[in-house]
């Protein structure tokens, strides 16, 4: 796990005008797709705007961005398309927002999923993080609103967090553009395979459920050897998620 968080980054290539170009809504011919997921009220849209140079409205409201917003940036001659998913608490329920977010991560297969969390409410936000990590291997945790966390005397051991979650962690204060260059660098490293993630998988599951999940995911893997998230699909099948059942029947999941 490589997780360098370099706070003194004036010499980094991302400050180099040639290295980084914010492309606004120009999303054609991209090399990588990056999804932004996160709880409502974590400053997700602010991060999106900071990355793309766009000015999408960000209300202080749970569940503001309902439609998917898209933007792009270019870094070292590679083009990244950014998709801002609706803010959700979870991917397990059935609301429209959650379906949009979940379907994009599952079927859209983004090259990197950036999960934005509110640093001062980490525990609540980890609910979504842990669920996303069940679906996808390539993720970056953006620990946003560090300024508020500091004001509230909350200290976070980013290294330990990165180790526990198995993905790189980048602290930011997107409102003040702090940490954005580091975030961009980390995204590009994950996209290019320079950082390999070993994402956390849910541990605290009762034994009978664990057994059922193992049995089912073994069957799924036998049928679809390339599937990256058989365990998560097993979870969904046990919940009776008709959309996943249909996708499985149509062969859309591998």
């Amino acid at each position: 796990m490589d997780n360098k968080v370099n706070s003194d980054c004036n010499g980094c290539p991302q400050y180099n005008a040639k290295g980084l170009k914010k492309l606004g809504v120009n999303t054609e011919n991209f090399d990588f797709v990056v999804a932004l997921a996160g709880n409502p009220n974590t400053g997700k849209s602010t991060v999106f705007n900071a990355l793309t140079g766009l000015r999408q409205h960000t209300g202080n409201w749970p569940g503001k961005t309902v439609t998917r917003a898209e933007g792009a940036f270019e870094y070292n001659d590679q083009k990244y398309k950014l998709v801002d998913l609706p803010g959700t608490y979870s991917l397990l329920s059935t609301s429209e927002d959650e379906e949009v977010a979940r379907n994009f991560i599952l079927f859209g297969k983004p090259d990197v999923t950036v999960i934005i969390v509110d640093a001062s409410r980490l525990e609540r936000n980890l609910n979504l993080v842990i669920q996303v990590l069940e679906i996808t291997d390539k993720a970056v945790l953006c620990l946003n609103l560090m300024d508020e966390a500091k004001r509230n005397h909350i200290k976070i051991d980013e290294r330990a967090l990165a180790r526990d979650l198995g993905i790189p962690v980048v602290p930011t204060s997107a409102r003040f553009n702090e940490g954005i260059p580091e975030l961009i660098k980390t995204i590009t490293e994950v996209a290019n395979g320079k950082i390999i993630c070993k994402p956390h998988r849910i541990k605290n599951v009762p034994k009978n459920i664990q057994k059922a999940v193992n049995k089912l995911s073994a069957e799924i893997e036998k049928e679809f050897p390339t599937i990256p998230n058989s365990r998560w699909i097993a979870f969904r099948l046990l919940e009776g998620d008709t959309q996943i059942i249909n996708a499985l029947q149509a062969g859309e999941l591998n």
Binding site: P40, G59, N60, L126, A160, N208
Partner: protein, 472 residues
């Protein structure tokens, strides 16, 4: 072969579900949070002594307090409406002056110079251009004031507290506290109010908020109310009180709208919407200082211009239609006159007249052009002098002259009251209807949202007219 094994997997999952029982989701959620709290224990240190959010809770204790909660809320929302209505006056008349009194003659002159045929000139400049100009002049200034103010409150985080304060009242009528905000937004523009219902995540309550948003008197309708009230309501009381009387009448109409909103929310939740899923939760996010200029910029781009653009798209063909019906004649009578004649009987039953009904039909795209259309049509059918010719909408600077034209069209105090009521209770403008369709993706709900207020308008004006005629 493959198909079979997929079916086997699904059959296995069904079998396992039966074994692990109903609590699967609960256990999974508990498991995830248990993981989360383990991770947090390892990585997060909080200083309990200097605990958190002190300023937040101080603000919260005031804005949700028993004594101050409601007064502060009404003060802030009232202030925003007041600033909008007063503040929009000046730029609106400036824009009207520019578009209608300056650019319009120039365009006409230009058309005459290049020898444009009269019908093309009339169709484009008197029809399409005038309608679009009118909509921009009346709509842009109030929205450009209202939306940024509202958005500032939203970004600060105050609006969820309003929902929190008012939820109990909305719950009684089967709605969600957040509807207080979509309703307030509706006072600016119903289409924006409908978009704002996205903040309500419960399907039933969101549909209620969408369908009843039209009962908020929007910016496009305030000027109509104010004009009619000052001409007719102000005239029945001694002149020293006329200002007060007409203002109270307009506020009364707005409050009546809120009453109808509550009533129909309750009725909808008990009847056609009772099968929709209903949930409630409301997060009170921490306060965050809004960044003023950025908010102003984005709210103008995101809300004002998008809504304005939609309105223009709908207003242009409406202008064309208004010009055409006034200028195409069948058997010596214009289409407008024919339609007005056939609507007169029904109009009379409602205490209105054919002109008003036709104006509301052609003005579906934009409530802003109702008064200019009524004036033009009244001149057209009564044949009195005034106005600018068939199909050319106009407004007069003096309320007296407007009153004279309307009275020549047969208006009484009853007509005025019913026009005010009908302006509150009629179908949403086409921009709003289109927005409702986009938000609900359902023809059924769009039709209900469009028809319901219209039926209520018919019933209310009908009853008022009959009772009025019985008494007086």
């Amino acid at each position: 072969m493959k198909k079979n094994s997929v079916e086997n997997i699904i059959a296995l999952s069904n079998d396992l579900r039966w074994k692990i029982g109903d609590d699967f989701h609960d256990h999974l959620a508990e498991g995830i949070y248990a993981d989360a709290s383990e991770i947090v224990k390892n990585t997060v240190q909080t200083d309990d002594k200097k605990q958190q959010f002190r300023l937040d809770s101080k603000i919260d204790n005031i804005v949700t307090s028993k004594i101050w909660g409601f007064p502060i809320m009404f003060l802030i929302l009232g202030l925003i409406l007041w600033i909008t209505i007063i503040g929009a006056n000046y730029p609106s008349s400036m824009l009207a002056n520019l578009f209608l009194d300056n650019i319009h003659p120039i365009l006409k002159g230009f058309a005459a110079n290049i020898g444009m045929p009269w019908w093309l000139d009339g169709f484009l400049i008197d029809g399409v251009y005038l309608a679009v100009a009118w909509v921009i002049a009346v709509m842009l200034p109030p929205m450009a004031i209202f939306f940024p103010l509202f958005t500032l409150l939203e970004d600060f985080g105050y609006l969820p507290r309003v929902a929190f304060n008012l939820d109990y009242l909305f719950k009684k009528s089967g709605a969600h506290g957040k509807q207080a905000l979509t309703m307030s937004m509706g006072f600016g523009c119903n289409a924006a109010g409908v978009v704002a219902t996205r903040i309500i995540d419960s399907p039933r309550e969101r549909l209620i908020a969408i369908i009843t948003n039209n009962f908020s008197l929007c910016n496009g309708r305030w000027p109509t109310q104010i004009l009619i009230a000052s001409i007719f309501i102000g005239a029945v009381v001694p002149s020293s009180l006329s200002g007060f009387a007409s203002v109270s009448a307009v506020i009364g109409i707005a409050i009546l709208g809120i009453f109808f909103m509550f009533f129909s929310s309750w009725a909808l939740s008990k009847t056609i919407l009772k099968g929709e899923v209903s949930t409630f939760n409301l997060e009170l996010p921490p306060y965050r200082p809004p960044r003023f200029w950025k908010t102003v910029y984005t709210s103008i781009i995101d809300r004002t211009l998008i809504v304005l653009w939609r309105a223009i798209i709908f207003a242009a063909p409406a202008g064309a239609a208004i010009w055409l019906i006034s200028n195409i004649t069948i058997g010596g009578e214009s289409i407008a006159a024919l339609v007005i004649n056939s609507l007169d009987g029904f109009g009379f039953l409602l205490g209105l007249n054919g002109v008003i009904l036709l104006a509301y039909i052609v003005a579906i795209p934009a409530n802003e052009i109702v008064i200019p259309t009524i004036l033009m049509l009244t001149v057209l059918v009564t044949g009195i002098s005034g106005g600018e010719g068939a199909g050319v909408m106009f407004e007069l600077d003096s309320a007296n002259e407007t009153a004279n034209i309307l009275k020549a069209g047969g208006w009484t105090l009853l007509t005025a009251i019913n026009v005010m009521l009908f302006s509150l209770l009629h179908n949403p403008c086409s921009t709003t209807i289109y927005t409702i369709y986009k938000e609900t993706k359902s023809l059924k709900w769009t039709i209900i949202a469009s028809i319901l207020p219209l039926i209520m308008g018919f019933v209310v004006t009908f009853l008022v007219a009959q009772i009025w005629r019985l008494i007086f």
